[in-house]
Symmetry: C2
Subunit: 408 residues, 2 copies
Amino acid sequence: MSSGKILVAQGGGPTAVINQSLAGVVLEARRHQGVQRVYGARHGVRGIVDEDLVDLTRETSHNIEMVANTPASALGSTRDKPDLAYCQEIFKVLRAHAIEHFFYIGGNDSADTVRIVSEEATKAAYPLHAIHIPKTIDNDLVGNDHTPGFPSAARFVAQAFAGANLDNAALPGVYVGVVMGRHAGFLTAASALGKKFPDDGPHLIYVPERVFEVERFLADVKRTHERYGRCVIAVSEGIHDASGAPIITRLAKDIEKDAHGNVQLSGTGALADLLCEEIKQKLGIKRVRGDTFGYLQRSFVGCVSDVDAREAREVGEKAVQYAMWGGPDGATSGSVAIRRTGFYSADYELQALSDVAGKTRVMEDEFIAASGTDVTDAFRMYLRPLLGSRMPDAFRLRPNPVPKVLRR
Amino acid sequence: MSSGKILVAQGGGPTAVINQSLAGVVLEARRHQGVQRVYGARHGVRGIVDEDLVDLTRETSHNIEMVANTPASALGSTRDKPDLAYCQEIFKVLRAHAIEHFFYIGGNDSADTVRIVSEEATKAAYPLHAIHIPKTIDNDLVGNDHTPGFPSAARFVAQAFAGANLDNAALPGVYVGVVMGRHAGFLTAASALGKKFPDDGPHLIYVPERVFEVERFLADVKRTHERYGRCVIAVSEGIHDASGAPIITRLAKDIEKDAHGNVQLSGTGALADLLCEEIKQKLGIKRVRGDTFGYLQRSFVGCVSDVDAREAREVGEKAVQYAMWGGPDGATSGSVAIRRTGFYSADYELQALSDVAGKTRVMEDEFIAASGTDVTDAFRMYLRPLLGSRMPDAFRLRPNPVPKVLRR
């Protein structure tokens, strides 16, 4: 029989639904008779080594439900990436508090932390059940159909581009929207779901899975602008050249050579501004605007996919079930993974921590169009059900021209 | 009896509800027996002088309702600011098409256009009823309690800061969000409505109605960061120094002197990036992030205040009523204005075009706290009902610390 003590923590960048997973763990754990205490660590692994813990068995289930519907990490998060020594400190605290179930909600770095802590426990013959609960807006965890947090961020990006497209149609010009995603382009690709009519933007989508060539980019923009009289562009912050060098560095150099002096690169608006400057200078287009979606895309309150919220809750609940009752093979440690079972339906599996820890999934080739600047229908079919219900829709006036009188 | 021909157009920056006003005009006008045709001009006044008109009496009322719920300007917009000669061209087209009712949805520049066109008609003894229908996210039209479009943009800003605050609490640091508003700070001030708990951000709000001093700003940020361990800041794009010079220019110079070379100022992310750089350099704070809300705040699909949608519809409907039946004093030209009649209830009046045309309202002193970096309760009472129903709410876990074992 276990000590009945459970610890849950949240790591990495917050998401719109990460507190659903927290609620899934806490509320499911509190149903188990053997559970004596459910603790939470403040600010992820940092709070564990600092023994900065809160007792979640003293919190009402009603307030936990309200927190579940609140974005960001209610326990606080951390950017710490524990090495072996750090993980040994974590294990020391778990043992001191007789904690035998450890749940860490986070991305692939967090999975790696759970893996090392779990190995430390095994070495010490300490009965620890350690479960990684997936979370990342980047959708870059291997072995998962998708990751909780991604659908809501994708919905934000799709709604943002649907709006940017309408705005750009009303006041034509070039619009560049820079989306998060250093290695995986899923979130940038989600911009395609904001498109309804054939001439809608985003007309061009650039993901880090494809090499970005500035000259080709300018040619793409020129062609699109000539065709539609406007151009809406979605760009991953992680776009890079053939050598893997980020475009932001490359363009900074170009602009220096164009006698603009040294360009201040720090801050998040730089890539959008630099791409806009390239378009203005090289193509001579006057109305060019750039937005960097920045923290809005992961933190905006009030843009949640109901499918995402449900699944984020379920991965937390499943984590407790695996820890308490074991997976099909009896394992009580691992990483909860989402599998797609229908259109649309999902189920969960417990995969080995080593299968997901520290690895990065990128967009599959079948999701990227041959042009390299669009997504495929396979991607649209993949993403659409995840965005959830009640997606805003855009309508147009139908063309009914009035005959000219003066300029016949 | 009039010709029964009506023309409606949309000018300036799109909003989330501008098509509600369009629908208000079209659907109300189509109910009047004397109305033969309702035309729309594509891309505002530009479409009038180009005779680029569409026949809105050929559009279904069902599709007009769907368009009403779609953001941005369905007819297209323009940045053209007509002078006298341009207005004479407009009048020429109106006369050629025997249009006797002209409705222009826009800001104070649009009101001025309506005023000049109306005067041209009077000079020519042409029976034109010309009505300006208010629209602007800046909320800067005089004689109005508020303007359609502002409440929805304000709701976006409030939801964005509510989320940014949660994100910043999870991963502490300094966050700077730059909000639209060159002269009026209403939209930036709306960030205060994202605040719930006393220690929530935005902790500092800077509007163009107050002089911005970089040294004082840095002292404010330092004090707030020391107090809360974090700092969320809302800044109007229009902040300026005592001489009226935009801060972006001022900071650019400072950074040059700090040996960073020439800074590229074009593009919309520059002010946020520059303020972040100041904070990093002068205060030595490591985690400093900046977002420029850019076009998202006016174009994001799916963030509409239901109060705003209703009122935007009504100003369109009222415009037609005034044109057809006249205002209380018999006037059939003017600018529709929103008056507040209860908490919360509104009514409409027709004010003289010269009272609103070309004038700019800024935030009243009673709305800005003595500190100059916060709003008053009067502002909160003013804005809250406009944000509409179903505002997302943020909840926290209550503090229930677990006694330390290792570090007692």
